[in-house]
């Protein structure tokens, strides 16, 4: 089942912070976060695995609550380059198939 992302869209001023949430009704093995700019391919941001391991870019932070099957992506001191649509992809025990949320559109204004 498709994970639910919230909010659907958010508008920030440069320098402000944002939190994007991803929630699943199924037990998860991992959560993946990607950013996609208009007309471009999704770009990897972060992977969080059950058990606490994670891999991602230094300037990106995220959390994964295994019991609640929820993940949150934290964007601090936002820059104009952060604009785009953020997708979470959830992975069950299959260990390879990602089910993607509908995305959260982030707009950063100067």
């Amino acid at each position: 089942q498709q994970p639910v992302q919230s909010p659907q869209a958010v508008i920030l001023r440069e320098g402000e912070d944002a939190v994007i949430n991803c929630s699943s009704s199924k037990a998860l093995y991992s959560v993946h976060w990607y950013r996609q700019k208009h007309g471009e391919a999704p770009v990897f941001l972060m992977i969080l695995l059950k058990g606490g391991e994670q891999k991602g870019h230094e300037k990106i932070s995220a959390s994964f609550n295994e019991k609640k099957q929820q993940s949150s992506l934290y964007l601090t001191a936002s820059q104009l380059s952060y604009s785009g649509t953020y997708f979470c992809g959830t992975e069950g025990d299959s260990n390879y198939q990602l089910i993607w949320g509908a995305g959260t559109k982030l707009i950063i204004k100067p």
Binding site: S30, A41, I47, L49, Y96, A102, G103
Partner: protein, 116 residues
């Protein structure tokens, strides 16, 4: 280094025609994925290859869709008797694979398919 490439970047075809979409993964990546993305939506899983074999094709919408990866590298997604509802951006992604892999996926730029 070279990333994932997809050809063509755009394909316009008529209803009922056959199309082939090509994906060149990153060299050495054993895992390859095909997704379909409609406007304003997240990618929709179609099929996953590990090496030459299709490990999971459960996302293919019907038997008009087929994909191959004969030598474990380049993959082709084939769509027969195209319908207007097939119009979307078809994304390919590859991943290193292996037990230590976090399944980080590297996406290609996509092929925009328009069925008239």
């Amino acid at each position: 280094g070279a990333g994932v490439s997809q050809t063509p970047s755009n394909k316009v075809t008529e209803k009922g025609k056959y199309v082939e979409l090509r994906c060149d993964p990153i060299s050495g990546h054993t895992a390859l994925y095909w997704y379909r993305q409609s406007l304003g939506q997240g990618p929709e899983f179609l099929i996953y290859f590990q090496g030459t074999g299709a490990a999971d094709d459960s996302g293919l919408p019907n038997d008009r869709f087929f994909a191959v990866r004969p030598e474990g590298s380049v993959s082709t997604l084939k769509i027969q008797r195209t319908e207007r509802g097939d119009s979307a951006v078809y994304l390919c992604a590859s991943s290193p694979g292996g037990p230590d892999n976090y399944n980080e996926q590297f996406f290609g730029p996509g092929t925009r398919l328009t069925v008239l």
